[in-house]
Symmetry: D2
């Protein structure tokens, strides 16, 4: 095989699915932290594509620090208004000047309009995902992209297809398969912001889902922003709340046979007419700030029962930023292993980089398994190792799929 | 008649038209200072209308301090791009909360979304006047509208049609008629940004015109930004320069029989391919900042041969802001007098307010005349005074026309 | 006892100390993320104290979103300079207006200068911790504190000593005792920024420590910014690097008998004169942005081997913000249990809140134990539960200690 | 003599001193517009000195666009506080990178920290002039200095002592001597912000003076901000108002024998306890924005009776920025002429540049005279021309004196 440092080990504990209590959270598309993640990642993809189009390779950049400052709003049944706009500051580094050399001479000079690229990406992202937010008047997007340090700018300066070097000593982690509770939490949000949302325009993008399992009882608590222009009255609001609850109960049934209880907008106080009504579909319009890397991990979930990386995945460049690549890759490896190898109840993949080493050769690749009853580590070790090795060799496909927008980072 | 303090006096000197040398300047629509003026005034009108719509009267506001920070660009024949966006900060004060009282009780509370109103006004202004600038990505518009001091907020708090009180001790000045040189300078810019510009999309909005007259020789120097997407080559650029020159020579002939020489983009250096080429039609895209009140006076011109007020007219509220109202009114009075009274070669109107006094009753209204040969001040004094008095009585029409966007402020 | 929902359970797995591999990280005081954490928390404390001083209770606020945008610098042996300042934006919500009522009448109105309070706190924090950074010229601190939503403003509006209600459904987690590797990582940074730093002014505050243990081999990798004005040459730089290495090796010996290897500034390239030299002692001066909640968890560490909460602890109000209180409290409970109860190898405390419920009565308080050999859960369950119960009852001491600056949040 | 194009002409009208009505205004040191002017000019001087120190010549820059956004405050007898800080944005262009060449090779590269230089200059200016404003917490100073257009950067690229070329077609104007009213207005502010202010710490820097003369009656109206920490009560406030009035009446007596009436803070309303009380000594703390070039002309006054230039003098570079140099030079020439040539009642100097021509050779230098009775133009023409010629030849001393801070620009 290869000489990659791959370890396959048992987890001494139980699979998360078998633990007594489990907590899972997902901040939906329109949560202020997720808006920041989404903008950061969309800007990142746009920059990567622009570099490829213009100079044939991805130059140094990093845009993983978007800050959202909430606005103020006056929602009202039938349609309110934004009073003070949301303010969103895109920060980071991006290479603006690039010289092509031939025989030691500059033969062509490129200026890459990184800031206008970033702003266009932000505008497009809002247009696609937040139809109720008017770009430029209900959200002000500002941008401060510095030039980065000289050293880092050289990291991508090498021609050809060779494997990039890790930019840092960092690690990534991935898990598979998702537990029932995780699947419910993840898919509830995706569907509410997907097909259900399309049919129910009153449903805002700011959907937060918290799942809690104690033994075989699953509690799903949702906070769902409603869009006032599609909600004429408190009655209509209540109908939407009920529709969400019913939808999520049905959806949960697809993933579990356990008992599921669903709560929607529990902080509402109908008597005082205090409900989660918004003009834009997100609490960013009134009081809730957000920033990158504070919410979902790379697999779309916050899972305190599982090992997590603190690295923000969104906005980082996908060529050599190990904090991004290894989280996405570890998740992909974990999924590949459980798909291809029988007898596994749970797998956790951890990849630890070493600064300056090729990214396809991690310092350690660590696969921790919970096997099904009657299966020994030794029975599956070689198979697992082979999948890990194959996926590591293919690390650059992660880069490409990120650039193409095929991988979600939050 | 009335007891307004109106004085009619001779000017001992010669009319500007008869002076030996004359200098006149106009910063066109797309000059960074004029962009700031235009945004400030457009925002002001939008706020005034919103207040009238929502609470039936204009509440306290002042938006006369817009600051434009230039971007950077990479213009190129056939079409370049903006590299770093223009940044525009709208500042000022505006009342955001208003309570309606009846019998000492609050019966209705209004929240006026002053910041989103301001941003929408800015967006509309760009869309209408600067088709080459993409709002939100090529220009970032930010807004900081404070609440104003308590005292001033009360100024507009009075119901009914009574005449507002002056907010300051200030003065305004107006002149008529325009000299030939002034007419040429004013109309050259207006036509270039009007019918000529419509036929020649290569002509940017950033047109600066300086007129100089020595005796009977008039020199007109224009700096005209060209829009790169409509200019394919240096040859095409030169053709546009020639077309502008020819157009202005013809136009000047409509206003004067004197000798007129026209210079266009004299700072160009064709040998070094240094020309006034832009991507957006304004130098704000590259290096030229702007702010309110630094350019044209209320009559659209900078006229060092004439008395000028330093007050910024754009962006001020048109209800009680004397620095705005008296400059517009003085100009209107001057024009009315020369239109209605025979025998005048030139008139200058100065209106001096006194803080706290009704705005239709200035501390002094001073009409300085140059009469035509054979006409004495005494011959026209009563007529002039009558016109001045009538126009002062009608001061609130200025307010209305400003709100309706009928009066230009720069 | 009480009726708090406290569960004591075994962890089926091994204690982290006994696991095969372990990864631990700490971002030191001067890391851009930690600067943001520190400012956010210092501002929070200042606001809490100001509210107590002025109105006798803590009003609603939240300042957990500080964003740092890196500057640029030109470090040089003997002393370089900051070229573009660091920009730091403090955002959040804070109550600015407060009315005291008596018998339904407003008897006193308070305006709390939240923004100047925040700026003063930031200035003091820089002065105390970053002697090489000149406030106002090498770092620009800006502030945008909104007013918060009406609902939340009422949360703290209740008089008296009653227990606040949880502001959210969230959870906190704490662990004890720290493993050897964790102790080394935590204390290496603290000492470098403490006594060692005082003796060696060349050591900057930006110290990042990563510990990795494989079996009984511990690797400690440090990135330590050097301050150029105290480093005259590459030789002097190398001497400082060597001194740090030696110091950390010695320090590690206090916490472990395992083999320890220490690496310092491994990304340096002496041949190309590329070293971690700074003017201010932090990489924020050149290229590295930072924000709150992206770095250390409440116990000062990033520990992927352990359960972690994604909640930012720094900057949140310590009265009812459960994301803050429960992380600090869980850590304190874990420490109390291992200090008081014999026979425990490791404990993890998780506290899950329910929005609107008193914070001393969590939805679940979950104590997961690894006992020493020969000790059963049943042997210690009652003791553990008693400590947990006692600490929960005393939750408000957390609030007080946070306000007094006694608890570190990052 | 020389071949400079100098014209000496009569003014057909009367000297301003002899006209029937006269209006003069001065915005004092602490007026928001003047704060902007002062910062812009102080930053300009600091940049010029830094360039000279570091590279031996002044590189291209322009900082004439500072924008001040007012804060909010809660003044109170005995000492109030700033609630929201003043925000001041320094914008402009400044060269940050400079390469020294020898024989076509770069022998040395300079990075000039223009932004930190600007911020230090701002801090020093506040410290020196506004002792009541705490830098960084009561005023936030932000800076956006772009790089300027390539073309302009070359303007200063020439070695040696040769005369710079004009950067624009523009003009400057100067007058002498000052009228009595002008002297009173100018010196009243200077003394209030000078020796009187030192003896009376209650006097804030925000002093606005308006002088109006009708025939032989001079009215002086002052708005003087009082500093609350030095004013314990309304009585104390009134005493300060009275002291100012008395002082200005006395001072006026030094400059005129005409009747002088002095009004101080006429907008005060004691019954409603509405007075001009501030915490910092300037209305910038509460509601009044400011920007460069909106206030005093280069001679420190706003004089609608006289020809004025719209050019902002403050903040422009003093090497080739004709809008600055010619206003200062014209004033200096006018003063020199009246000092040296007998028989003049008034002189106005206008200097018109031509872009690209040496600045000591204006397109026209125009001296318009009012002679004393019995003196003909022909009697003084040669003398006047000689002084004008001599001063033009010495234009570069203006540059030097600006850099040395010897010339006031507002």
């Amino acid at each position: 095989m290869t000489d990659r440092n791959i370890r396959v080990e048992p987890v001494a504990g139980r699979a998360v699915e078998d633990q007594e209590t489990e907590i899972v959270e997902r901040k939906g598309l329109g949560h202020p932290d997720s808006i920041s993640d989404g903008i950061a990642e969309h800007v990142s993809q746009a920059l990567a594509r622009a570099y490829l189009d213009r100079v044939g390779k991805v130059l140094h950049y990093n845009t993983d620090e978007t800050q959202l400052v909430a606005g103020t709003s006056a929602p009202a049944y039938g349609g309110g208004e934004v009073v003070e706009p949301i303010y969103l500051l895109i920060t980071g580094r991006a290479t603006k000047e690039y010289a092509e050399y031939e025989n030691g001479q500059v033969v062509r000079h490129h200026t890459i309009p990184t800031e206008t690229i970033a702003l266009r990406a932000a505008r497009d992202y809002f247009a696609e995902n937040f139809p109720e937010i008017d770009f430029g008047t209900e959200v002000i997007v500002d941008v401060k992209l510095g030039e980065g340090s000289g050293d880092l700018q050289e990291v991508f300066g090498e021609e050809g297809k060779q494997i990039p070097k890790a930019n840092d000593t960092s690690f990534g982690v991935g898990h598979a398969p998702l537990t029932e509770t995780e699947q419910i939490v993840l898919n509830a949000e995706r569907e509410l912001n997907g097909s259900f949302g399309e049919r129910h325009p009153a449903i805002g993008q700011d959907v937060k889902v918290m799942g809690k399992r104690e033994g075989d009882e699953i509690d799903v608590t949702l906070a769902v922003a409603m869009v006032d222009s599609y909600v004429d009255s408190l009655e209509a609001y209540k109908e939407n709340v009920a529709a969400v609850r019913e939808f999520v109960i049905d959806l949960a049934g697809e993933y579990t046979d356990r008992d599921v209880t669903v709560h929607v907008n529990t902080a509402d106080d109908y008597d005082h007419n205090s409900v989660f009504l918004t003009t834009t579909g997100t609490s960013a319009e009134q009081g809730d700030d957000g920033s990158v890397g504070r919410g979902n991990r790379a697999n779309g979930l916050i899972t305190p029962n599982r090992s997590m990386s603190m690295e923000a995945t969104s906005g980082k460049n996908p060529v050599n930023h190990i904090g991004k690549i290894y989280n996405l890759l570890a998740t992909q490896i974990a999924e590949a292993v459980v798909a291809e190898v029988d007898g596994l109840r749970e797998i956790r993949i951890r990849l630890l980089s070493q600064i300056g080493k090729p990214i396809d050769d991690p310092h350690v690749a660590d696969a921790a398994l919970v096997t099904e009853e009657g299966v020994e580590i030794a029975d599956v070790e070689a198979e697992v190792e082979a999948v890990v090795d194959r996926e590591l060799a293919d690390v650059s496909s992660i880069t490409q799929r990120v650039i193409d927008g095929e991988l979600s980072t939050f």
